[in-house]
Symmetry: C2
Subunit: 456 residues, 2 copies
């Protein structure tokens, strides 16, 4: 990439100096020359006094463009807005794209929200208030109402002229949404299509009637999937009466895809991986609940082994292979878990052909178990010069792996079936659970061959 | 979503019937009414004979639009192209966006590629051949050369007229790239900006001069990061002399983000999670290498325990807690691994403040170890009515967790430092490795207190 981090840091330092020295004109020029994203990153480096200077120098509209690039987890917007003049803050919010403004307002108290909205034009305030109703994880929570909509009886030329007017406020002018006299969404057109058609053509004759849209209460993951498949830059959102409610743009979807991926990754490891800013104490307290829960699950395994203490004291060789069997079965279970969770997320959590998938995983597990079991039979047989011991370890390994593999597949599927997020079954959970089943399998098999070990 | 899967299946069945019955006109109308993505999905349901009928009915350009929506892992393009008339195949490839055509051609033999390219206009063939040189995981491998470029001395009106011409072939007309007389990239303009400016304005006076671009050999992950930050829909790609080589569009970046996320997820579980179409034998053979490797690492742990068999035969109670300690330490290690890998991927694999991060993880590990250790001290103490045993298990647990935590952090960082992908250190690897260290810690601590256990 061509923006070197060193350059950016230097540039930010120089800008802060201009700000501190109140070289207003120079500062404004250099600040406005930066991309909105860079302006936002610069803003995050300022202290309270410097921010106050910035509010004096810059218009609320200019601040709005900048805040559009910042996420609600990067700054405490409640505090930022509170340090502004009330009218200025309200203008900043009003000049932002309303989906971004709504994301910030969601973190504020109702009374604060009312204070800012009361200073906005009624129509804008109502639109924002409308957006605040939707669950943030749905199409409604992602959409903006700053889109371009036109009646189907306009000509291409009229549409292009109107687009010119919309160009300053709409979040995207590259798709326009065509409605009939009842305000029902009946078609879409891209700016590119407007460009290649005769200026006199009527929109209804050239628009795409096969409109792909999402419902306002569709989950954000489903919305992201439509973007992936159709390669759209924007997508209309409708209510269940097919009235157009807003549009989702691709930049918000990239964020969703990132968040969902991070979420799946976190769950697989049984930890929230987004710890970038947390202290060791906070990191520890976010990781401990899972660990302690699994510790008690592990205690059941320990209790189980405890029942075989008599066997163990007679054949201490058995203890040598506990961690090998539990560890390998846990690894195999983690693999099959990850495959199952991924498959479920691709089919939108609706497990189909459940039995066939389980049968497939059973066979996979048997093959893996057989190969691993035979390997360990030979290795242990040669090492301890005892192929009966090798056979017991190998057999236990095979059964333990097959069971762990099946559990890794079955548990997320069952979770999806009863309406839970399958990714909640984490790798650590599956391996701790498979410790239990593996130990049970191992000692029961070993008990059968007890005569061979005692005194080894 | 408003397209129900049942509807699509029904529609596809009806379309296949029209095709089989050679109702050409009806078929063409309904086929062309579908979105390109749906056409592509329909194509994937056809058999060889039906595909042959399709090639007779549809123009190569229409097929090209459809193939633009298909990925190289969804079909064997070499076989598909071979079943077409040679000239038709070459026209299909030529009508596709050249980044997509290049993705398909990459899987073909050189002689096949030459055969298709020889039938294209020289300039198009050269452009495609150029794209084939780049590593698929870089900006060059993602970019298209179907973009809009203009000289800086044009007026807005001239630019808009030119855009109209480009609208049929360019992959996006929503950004245009401005060059000087030396063909150096000097600015960018969005179609939206052209719209709001006076028609007589000169491009050089209104363009954005602060151009964000990526180098042709930049890694695709870095490219995706720029899209995330700046919320662009397209991004210019330049060589190291700052000549414009192509552009990357957001649809390709969504794919990259998806692929990278799947890759990280796969690596964390030590398995390629994309097994959707594979048989149990294939699934097993892709999962076994890791499992067998880790099995041998686990054998070292077993050998280690074997050295303590004497201790074990005198104090079989020690065997009861092996899996509890290795399991819990493994879980903690997996958590810290996932956090570290994620952090490294966010900072583009350059671990900064290495020592500070490790210190932080050490403290986190100590806190987690202390809490977990104390918990197990009390639980085991009460259960076995032996607080010395509890203290030994608790102490071993604490040290084992601290070490596993540190290893989970340190190993991916070291991998990044020596230029490896940190995500290669998988969860199963870290937990198998921590089995080893945990056992070592546990038995050494237990040995110190041996007098207390013998005969328990």
């Amino acid at each position: 990439m061509q923006i070197l981090e060193k350059d950016i840091k230097l540039q930010f330092r120089q800008l802060r100096e201009l700000l501190n020295k109140r070289h207003t004109k120079q500062f404004r020029k250099r600040f406005l020359d930066m991309h909105f994203y860079e302006q936002g990153q610069f803003f995050l480096t300022l202290n309270h006094d410097q921010r106050q200077l910035l509010y004096q120098i810059m218009d609320p509209d200019e601040m709005g463009d900048m805040f559009d690039t910042l996420e609600d987890d990067q700054l405490d917007m409640s505090q930022i807005l509170a340090e502004m003049d009330l009218k200025y803050a309200s203008q900043v919010l009003n000049s932002m794209y309303d989906d971004n403004a709504a994301d910030f307002l969601e973190h504020l108290d109702k009374s604060e929200v009312d204070r800012y909205l009361s200073l906005m034009p009624q129509a804008d305030a109502n639109q924002l208030r409308g957006l605040l109703h939707y669950d943030t994880q749905t199409a409604g929570g992602l959409m903006t109402t700053d889109y371009v909509v036109m009646y189907q009886d306009l000509t291409v030329k009229e549409a292009l002229d109107l687009l010119r007017k919309y160009a300053r406020t709409a979040e995207t002018i590259y798709y326009l949404y065509v409605i009939d006299a009842d305000n029902d969404l009946v078609g879409t057109l891209s700016l590119r299509e407007l460009f290649v058609h005769n200026q006199k053509a009527i929109l209804s004759t050239i628009m795409t009637r096969n409109v792909i849209s999402v419902f306002v209460d569709d989950d954000q993951e489903a919305v992201a999937q439509v973007f992936r498949d159709y390669e759209f830059v924007a997508l209309p959102v409708v209510d269940h009466a097919h009235k157009l409610m807003g549009i989702v743009t691709v930049d918000d979807v990239i964020e969703v895809i990132d968040d969902e991926a991070q979420d799946d990754y976190s769950k697989l490891a049984g930890v929230d991986v987004d710890e970038s800013k947390s202290t060791p104490v906070k990191a520890a307290s976010s990781r401990l609940p899972w660990l302690i829960t699994l510790l008690f699950l592990g205690m059941i395994t320990a209790t189980l082994i405890s029942h075989f203490e008599n066997l163990l004291s007679q054949a201490s060789i058995l203890a040598v292979f506990i961690s090998l069997i539990t560890g390998t079965a846990g690894n195999a279970g983690t693999q099959s878990l990850a495959v199952a969770v991924r498959r479920l997320s691709l089919t939108n959590n609706k497990p189909r052909h459940l039995l066939m998938l389980l049968l497939k995983e059973l066979i996979t597990g048997l093959i893996i178990g057989l190969v691993t079991g035979l390997t360990i039979l030979v290795v242990v047989g040669l090492w301890k010069k005892n192929f009966v011991l090798g056979a017991v370890i190998g057999l236990a390994m095979m059964v333990a792996i097959t069971v762990a593999n099946l559990a890794g597949s079955l548990i997320p599927m069952l979770m999806a079936k009863i309406g839970f997020d399958p990714a909640v079954a984490s790798g650590p959970f599956i391996s701790t659970l498979s410790d239990l089943t593996s130990v049970l399998i191992y000692f029961n098999i070993a008990s059968l061959f007890m005569g061979f070990f005692t005194g080894l």
